[in-house]
């Protein structure tokens, strides 16, 4: 098993990906195309290019246990070589008590090295989170339960949703935000997965009914979710790539349904964060476990509007 690799030039990474033994070119199945995928033995490196958007996705982490702290330490080490600006949170930020000391032990301490380096954490609420977290300075939610923000580089907008309560006001807001967004990449982040092979929770079909038509209509390319305590990359659904990254704290070992037709890659035996780099129309991803092993990697091309 090899550790992650970083290359300075993006196109070299793509070439390497296509040439490497584990890389496969898939036929287009919808507008968001998985250009290549790596293996644990031959992961596709992140380009680590100057000016690209670099961020990490993390979910279901706030338990203050050894696992969370170990993964936090690995995220910090990873930042030394891959200087991401942002951590996108997909909910369940604090389990159990939410007293001031809990914000410290479940968030501020495990990610202190990143916070000290001014890495920005962008919050979304999970089912275990109190709504007051939206006022917490370090979650950068601007006092809102749902919001969108433009990435600091590249043409990317994130839509941070409150999937516990997808009330009509929020859905109307989402449709308007998506319609008004001029960015090339539209990325949705929320807690409850609308595609998941988890035995414990699984796909939220009602939420899928609500969100998926909007994602399809407005060219969302990628969605990051959590809730199920493992890592899963879903095969593209209507051209959209979905991830479950509920692997930041407690694990549901063995919870991914074996042989699930949804799974492109599943991993439920160690904690994982997802490192992402967007450069132009391509999104590179490495899912990284606590020892720093890349357990999933690949390249995705964004969805583009159908020619009129």
């Amino acid at each position: 098993m090899r550790s992650r690799q970083l290359l300075p030039i993006g196109f070299l990474a793509a070439l390497l990906a296509l040439a490497c033994p584990g890389g496969t070119v898939q036929p287009t199945s919808g507008p968001a195309e998985v250009l290549a995928k790596g293996t644990q033995e031959a992961p596709i490196p992140l380009p680590n290019a100057k000016g690209s958007l670099k961020f990490v996705v993390l979910g279901d982490f706030g338990v203050a246990d050894r696992r969370q702290y170990s993964l936090g330490a690995e995220m910090s080490r990873f930042h030394d070589t891959f200087p991401f600006d942002t951590v996108v949170l997909v909910g369940d930020n604090l389990y159990g008590a939410e007293r001031p000391q809990d914000f410290k032990t479940k968030f501020e301490d495990p990610y202190k090295p990143l916070l000290d380096k001014n890495v920005k954490f962008m919050g979304a609420l999970g089912n275990h989170d109190a709504r007051e977290q939206r006022f917490y300075k370090l979650f950068n939610m601007d006092g809102k339960l749902y919001y969108s923000f433009k990435a600091p580089s590249e043409s990317v907008r994130f839509f941070m949703l409150d999937s516990t309560y997808p009330v009509p006001d929020q859905i109307a807001w989402l449709e308007k935000e998506l319609a008004d967004s001029k960015e090339d990449w539209k990325i949705a982040c929320f807690h409850h997965p609308i595609y998941s092979s988890g035995g414990r929770h699984g796909s939220d079909l009602k939420l899928r009914e609500t969100l998926e038509p909007l994602f399809i209509k407005y060219n969302v390319s990628v969605a990051f979710t959590g809730h199920d305590h493992f890592y899963e990359r879903i095969k593209p659904q209507h051209g959209i790539v979905y991830y479950v990254v509920g692997s930041g704290g407690q694990l549901a070992i063995g919870d991914i349904a074996k042989g699930s037709p949804l799974t492109a890659k599943g991993f439920d035996t160690d904690n994982v964060f997802l490192a992402v780099e967007i450069q132009g129309d391509k999104m590179y991803f490495n899912a990284i476990s606590t020892p720093g092993t890349v357990i999933d990697s690949g390249i995705i091309e964004r969805r583009k509007p159908e020619p009129s």
Binding site: G96, H128, Y136, G143, T164, H201, S203, L205, K206
Partner: protein, 201 residues
């Protein structure tokens, strides 16, 4: 993988209710989602209306109390959030010192909640839904009205199948399970406003 889901259309808030003289459950299919439809008895309809009227009054009091407190900024510290939450809880608990269990979940309303949950948990997803609810939900002994939601217990999972048929709440309020009790929680104050008996089958 669960591919079916239950939706009970109670019409408590959505206007989908068909008044009926006897409880009834039927099943309608929308795509792959199975939706049993519950119709309300006149007594249940009245209980639901009463529940919503009480909620409206409570929210008015909540907003008045909250307006008197310092506003939380978007850059609040955990200490500020906690202080604000406890101050609001203390204020509301004092204002409703005479509150008792069943003020909101009256016996007919509790009966309706129980029947709703029974129907939700009679579907093909029952095992998963119940496991979700009971996940990190150890319950709490001696639950009391106007108590602070116990700090050492996670906010339980409320599956959408359960939330959808219940009366919709304003942003200040939430339903949560503590053990098999359904709690009406003031989420800004972390205050137990009311709770049912054991309604989870």
């Amino acid at each position: 993988m669960n591919t079916q889901r239950v939706l009970i259309v109670l019409g408590l808030t959505g206007g989908l209710c068909c008044a009926a003289t006897a409880p009834a459950v039927e099943t309608a299919k929308v795509g792959e989602i199975q939706r049993p439809i519950i119709t309300l008895t006149p007594e249940e309809r009245a209980a639901a209306d009463q529940f919503e009227a009480k909620l409206k009054d409570y929210i008015a009091d909540h907003r008045k109390a909250e307006a008197a407190l310092p506003h939380l900024s978007k850059d609040s510290t955990p200490q500020e959030i906690d202080k604000n939450q406890r101050a609001l809880g203390t204020q509301l608990a004092a204002e409703r010192a005479g509150a008792k269990q069943g003020d909101f979940f009256t016996p007919p309303m509790e009966g309706l909640v129980r029947r709703t949950l029974q129907a939700v948990l009679a579907g093909p997803d029952a095992k998963t839904i119940k496991a979700s609810i009971m996940d990190e939900n150890p319950g709490v002994p001696n639950l009391k009205i106007n108590d602070r939601y116990p700090d050492n217990i996670p906010l339980s999972t409320m599956p959408p199948q359960v939330l959808e048929p219940l009366p919709k709440l304003d942003e200040e309020m939430e339903y949560r399970f503590l053990g098999k009790h359904l709690v009406l929680l003031d989420t800004h104050a972390h205050l137990v406003v009311d709770f049912t008996g054991n309604v989870l089958p």
